[in-house]
Structures are given as C-alpha cells and as structure tokens.
C-alpha cells in the first residue's frame, strides 16, 4: 500500500512541489502502477538473469586520451550567477 506520505516523501527527494490534491491523485496513480508491476512477482524468474541494461551491448569504453574542454567563459554562460570563475550558489553548509 502506498500512502500519501510516501508520495510526498518521494516528491521531496526529487525536489518536486506537489499541491495536496495532486498528492492524493498521484497516490492513486502510483498505487495502480505498483499493482501492475506486482504482477511480475507472480512469475517464476529464478532462471532469468536480472536485466542491467536494455541494449545487447557490453564493454564499451574509450582510450585515456585528452580532448579539449570548454573554456571557463563558455561554461559560466550556463550559470545563474558567477564569481571569480566559479558558479555562485546560495550558501551550503557541510
């Protein structure tokens, strides 16, 4: 069973703001989704390898060779605020 608190908790983790009516609607939706997923639990999967990726690929890697990075100027274009070459953000305390 999914409670409205579960939904609110998941929303908070994902930094999504929900109005109360949205939370109750989404609780019902999520309940239905989980019911559907739960059907998988009725299947016998003891001989099935867990899927870790949907593509039939493996061992894709690159050589350790340097490629040009973006310049500081280019990068800071996407910042909301900047200071001394850095992204300026509201103070976070460790």
């Amino acid at each position: 069973m999914i409670s409205e608190n579960d939904v609110k908790y998941a929303a908070a983790l994902a930094r999504i703001h929900l109005e109360d009516d949205e939370a109750s609607r989404l609780t019902k939706d999520l309940e239905k989704i989980l019911d559907y997923i739960n059907k998988l639990n009725t299947l016998d999967v003891k001989d099935v390898q867990p899927t870790s990726h949907v593509l039939p690929l493996k061992n894709v890697y690159r050589e350790d060779r340097i490629r040009p990075s973006l310049t500081q100027k280019e990068v800071l274009k996407i910042s909301v605020e900047q200071q001394e070459g850095s992204f300026k953000v509201p103070k976070v305390i460790e």
């Binding site: 908070a12 870790s52 061992n59 690159r62 990075s69 310049t71 500081q72 850095s86």
Partner: protein
Amino acid sequence: MTIAAKQKYETVIGLEVHLQLNTATKIFCGCANKFGEAPNTLTCPVCLGLPGSLPVVNAKALEYAMKVGLALNCKVNPFVKFDRKNYFYPDCPKAYQISQFDLPICSNGYLMIETEEGEAKEIRINRAHLEEDAGKLIHDDKNNCSLVDYNRTGTPLMEIVTEPDLRSAQEAYNYLQNLKLTLQYLNVSDCDMEKGSLRCDANISIRPMGAIKLGTKTELKNMNSFKAVKAGLEHEIHRHMAALESGQAIIQETRLWDETRAMTFAMRSKEEAHDYRYFPEPDLVPFMMEGAAIETTRKSLPELPAKKRERLMEQYRVSAYDANILIQDPALADFFEECSKHYKDTKTICNWINGPLMKELNTRKTRLADIGLRPEDFTVLMHKVNEGILSNLAAKDILRFMIDTQRSVDTIIEEKGLAQVSDDSTLEKLVQELIKEHHNIAEQIRNGKESAIGFLVGQAMRKSQGKANPKKIGGLIKKLLT
C-alpha cells in the same frame, strides 16, 4: 578516565578510503584529470551533465581499478555495472553520482598490517568500487554564498572499504600507511591526503571486551592527513568511552574532526540524507571482465612492498629496520639491489643509503630518481673508504659534490684535495709536531694513559683538515710514545 575503564572496552573501526586515480583524463569524458588549474577550465557537457551528453568509461580507469583490487587480494568480479546514486548538492551537477551499488568491480580482499605488538594481522577489504568524484565547493562567508568549481567533477575515484577489523587508532594508521605504499607501488594515484587525492572516513564503535554485538557507531570525516586520522580516531574513541562510562548513550551520527580545536563535533545534516535511490545507470552498458585480461593484469603487477621487504631480508640479509626504509620507495630498493652488485657488504650499503644519501635527498627535498646518482659511482665511495683512501667524513662531502656537480669521485678527490693522507713520513711529521704542541698530553700517554690518544688523533684530524688516516695516526702515536 582510568586505565581499568579503558580496558573494559574493545574498539572497532572500519575505514572507507576514497582514492583519486591518476589517469590522464576523467572517468567518463576526455577532460584532463588535473589538480590546481583555474576553476571551471576542465569541464565539458559530459562531466557537467548537460542534456544530450553521454558518458563513456575510460579503459584506463577500469584497468587501474583492477590493479588496485588485485593488489589488495580482491576477487575481480566478472560482471561489472554502474549505478546512479541520486542526491541534490551543488557540487554534483547531474544531481546523481555514477557509482557502483550491488556489483562492485572488486570484492573480498585483504591487506596485511602490523599490530602494535608487532604481529601480522589481516584486515579484510569488503569491496573496492569505481565512481566519479564531485566538484569542489568553497564557502564564502563574507558574501554569504558558496562557489563551485567543476574541474574535479568526474575524476576517477575508487572507494575502498574495509570490514570492521581494526582495533585501535594505531592499527588504522598502519593500515592507511600500508595501503598508501601499496598504491604508490602500483603508480595509480598520488595518494596525497593534503591534496585530497587520498581521503579517509572512519566508522567507530566500542563494545564491552568479549561482546559480539557491535556498539552504536559514529562516522568520522574531515581528517586531512595521516596524523589527523590517528588523532581524530583517538579522540573519538575516548569520547565514546567517556560517554558510556558516565551512563550516556552514543548517538549514531556523522561527526567532523576539527584539527585546530582537536575535537570532533556533530555535523549539521539535513533529513532524508541517506535515501540515494540507486538504480542501474542507463547511459552505460555493463562490462564483462574476461579471465584472461584479469590474469594479464595480475601478471603485470610489480613486486609489492610486503613481498619486497621479505625478499630483501632473505636475499641480502638486510635487517627489518633497513628493509623498512628501503621499501618506502621502490626506486630506493632497486638502487640498493644494483649497489649490491658493486659492493659486497650490504650492511655498509644500507648505512650509506639510510644515512648520508637520505640526508642529501631530504635536504634537497627530492627523490632518488631526480639526482642522477649511479649505483656504480655511489659504491666507489665505499670502496675508497674501505681501502683507506677516503675518510668517512670526506666521503660524505664527496657524495654531496657528486650530486651537485655530476662529476666522478676521482675528479672531486683531485680537485678538492680530499684524498686521505696515509703516507708514513708525512704523518710522522704531523705527529711529531703535535707531541711538541701538546707535551702535557704526550707525557700522560707515556705514563700509560691510553685514553688520551684519542685527543691527539682528533687534533691530527683537525690539523690535516680531515685528511689524515686516523688509524695510522693512532698507531704512530703509540709507536712514538709507548
């Protein structure tokens, strides 16, 4: 706290080490993996997590991780995948870190350490996995903001986690030292705690001696040097004991070591901090670590410090003390072995390496590889001392000139006039002069006071600026006065 109170408890420590790998590029993109550049000059859409970019694993990072795992006696797992660890923090531009959750690249290893009693002890490694480092945050109190530099974002990082096998702060320190040395032999990281290329967090708890159940643990962070790890742990162990002794409970929390105040304090943390909602990373496909590749890597491992120490002691009859110094730098151990081909007495070679040579390296703050000293030249000094051509003192001077000028021993002896004087007539003249100058002392020697001979030998050395052969001088004094 009384000693009896301390002996009531057993300390239990597990360490989590984060190690930056010194690959040329980052783990998932081609940005240079470099420390100390201007902020935000080593980034790209991949390490900034911009939409539409795709990470691709750096083959070297996988190879290095495999090396570390094998050196730590781990099993390299045949099937490796990456996972997303989700959290919001400004140092993490994607809002998730690519890490490994249930299938780490390496698991179930161990590293041997020496206990305080000098016994060998196995510290089990639970797992060693690959992940990416986060950016660097600087807090600007004046402007009430934080500044983010993403150069470090995506630096390949290995997390090496022990089982709770360590029983004291000293054991934790010894483990870290051994781990660092082993990693340096592999040449996969700078292992510099001050620069942050090796970082260490600790889980600490105490329990009544003999108890099986673990006590409540605290996690200790912010220890920025090997010494700080030891001091921080000692302080935290003491805090646990004092709390339990006075009937207080330990709260499970993360604490920070404050180096200047020499104490730990609870970290202010947000709720929901530890719900990372891991799931398989859809942007990276899995890896099959082939048995043959693992074996090739295993064979490519250098001789590791513990093995080298053992071999030096057995093959060259070197003392444990000397061997421990030699293995601190594999280049030094190699140098010693080369020297042994040119000079038979290995104890003398060790004395020369651990004494004068180390002194020269320390005063120059340099490493052996950087001074261009050849074993065949270095051992010439020992031969010359042994043959009485050089005094020990002059030989040490020559070593310094050799390193400074890159000239041969013979050239320096000639230029500086440092050859030891062993010629009988010259020395006899010198002794005759001294007897005249110090007739009181000479009289004492004539009357059988042998201990006064040393004084005259010292005067002879001074007068000859260290060039007189002291053995011969001693003999001559005896001959002329007794």
